[in-house]
Symmetry: C2
Subunit: 201 residues, 2 copies
DNA sequence: TATAACACTGAACTTTTATTCAGTATTATA
DNA sequence: TATAATACTGAATAAAAGTTCAGTGTTATA
C-alpha cells in the first residue's frame, strides 16, 4: 500500500481515538482542539488537515459508531428467534453499548446544542430517522409474525425510541446491573403494553 | 411597599422574562449576557447585581418553572378521579407545557453540559429526584387503589420519567396534535404494560 | 533527479463571552 | 439634612477556543 495513504489512515485513527475518549470523558463543548493536540501529539493544523472542523470530527465519530453498532447488532440478531427476544436483546445491547461507549452523553449535548451548521442539522435528522426506521421494521416483523398486533407502528417506534433515549440519560447514574435491570423492565412494560393478550414472561 | 424592593422585583422580573424567552429560542450556551443586555436595556453589571451569574440565572428560571408546574398541576389533579386518569392528565399536561414553554430544550442542554459548578450539579440531581418521587407517589397511589399492581415502583418511576424525557425530545419536531397523540399513546402502552389485566380504553 | 503532491507544523488571528469593579444616581434612614 | 444603603452603569478584563496559513520536510511521479 501507498506509504502516504497508510500514514493518513494511521493519523486519522490516532486523532479519532483520542477525540472519542476525550469527548466521552469531558463532553463535546468542554473538549477543545488543544486537548486533542495534547493527547495526540500532533498539531492543530494537522487535525484540520484530516477533518473539516470540530463538528466534522464529531460527526465522523458518530457515523463510525453507528456502523459499528449495526455490525455488532447484525451478529447478535440471528441468535434471537422471536421479535420479542430481539427486542430484549436490543435493550441489553443498548444498555451495554451505553456503558462501554459513554459517547452518548456527548452526543446528547451535541444533538441539543443549537449552534449547528445546517448540513449538520440535516445529518442528525437523518440519523434520528434511521433509528426510528430500525424500530419500525423490528416492530413490523413482530406484527407479521403475529407476536403482537398494533395499528400504529410509527407511533410505537417513537415510543420505543423515547424509552431508550430517556433510559440512556438515567442509566448514566446507574451501575451496570442496575442499568441492565432498568432496560429489561422497560422492555417488559413496553411488550406487555403492546401484547396481544396478558402475558407473563 | 418599599420603592427599592419594588424596583428590584420589577427589574429581576424583566431580566428573567427576557432571559427565559432567549434561552428558549436560542438555547443556553448560545444566549449571551450581551443578548440579555440588549433585550432588557439594562447593563451587564445590573444582571450580575440581581443574579449570581449565568448559571444562577438559568437555575432561577428552572426553579420558577418547577413551582409553576406544581401549582397548575395541583389545580388540574383534582379533576381526575382515578390514578389512571391522573396519568393521562399528566401526560397531556407535560405535552402542553413542553409546547408552551420550550425551555425544555435549553434545560436538556444545561443538564447535559459538563461544565457545571458542583453545587449546580447537586441542585440538578435534587430536581431529578423530585421528578422521580413525584412519579413514585402517583404510582403508589394507583397500587393502593388497586388500579394496577407492581412490586417495583421505583423502577417504574424511572421508566415513566424516561418515557416522558424521550418524548419531550421527539415532540420538538411535532405539531401540537401530533405531540398530544404521541403522549397519549405512550401512556396507553405504559398503562397497558402495568395493568392488572387486559384492558381496553 | 527534478517537480509535484502530500502530510504536517505551530504561531498568529479573530471572535466571542462571562465577569468584575470603580464610580454614579437614587432612595431610605436617623 | 447628612449619611448610609441600595440600584445601577459600562468600560475594562481576561481567558478561551476554533480556525487559518505561510512555510517545512517527506514521499510519489515522470
Amino acid at each position: 500500500m501507498n506509504k502516504k495513504k497508510q500514514q493518513t489512515e494511521q493519523t486519522k485513527k490516532k486523532i479519532a481515538d483520542a477525540a472519542r475518549a476525550l469527548f466521552a470523558q469531558k463532553g463535546y463543548k468542554a473538549t477543545s482542539i488543544e486537548d486533542i493536540v495534547k493527547a495526540t501529539g500532533c498539531s492543530a493544523g494537522n487535525i484540520y488537515y484530516h477533518f473539516k472542523n470540530k463538528e466534522g470530527l464529531f460527526l465522523y465519530l458518530l457515523e463510525e459508531w453507528n456502523t459499528e453498532w449495526d455490525k455488532t447488532w447484525l451478529d447478535k440478531e440471528t441468535l434471537y428467534p422471536t421479535t420479542i427476544d430481539k427486542l430484549y436483546g436490543m435493550a441489553e445491547h443498548l444498555a451495554l453499548d451505553q456503558l462501554n461507549h459513554p459517547l452518548t452523553k456527548a452526543a446528547d449535548e451535541f444533538f441539543n446544542n443549537s449552534e449547528k451548521a445546517p448540513d449538520v442539522e440535516e445529518r442528525i435528522h437523518e440519523m434520528v430517522q434511521g433509528y426510528l426506521d430500525f424500530n419500525r421494521q423490528l416492530l413490523q416483523r413482530g406484527i407479521d409474525n403475529h407476536e403482537f398486533e398494533t395499528t400504529n407502528v410509527t407511533g410505537l417506534a417513537i415510543i420505543l425510541d423515547s424509552l431508550m433515549l430517556g433510559l440512556n440519560q438515567h442509566s448514566r447514574r446507574m451501575e451496570r446491573e442496575e442499568a441492565l435491570e432498568a432496560y429489561r423492565l422497560a422492555m417488559d412494560v413496553f411488550l406487555h403494553g403492546i401484547a396481544k393478550s396478558t402475558r407473563t414472561r
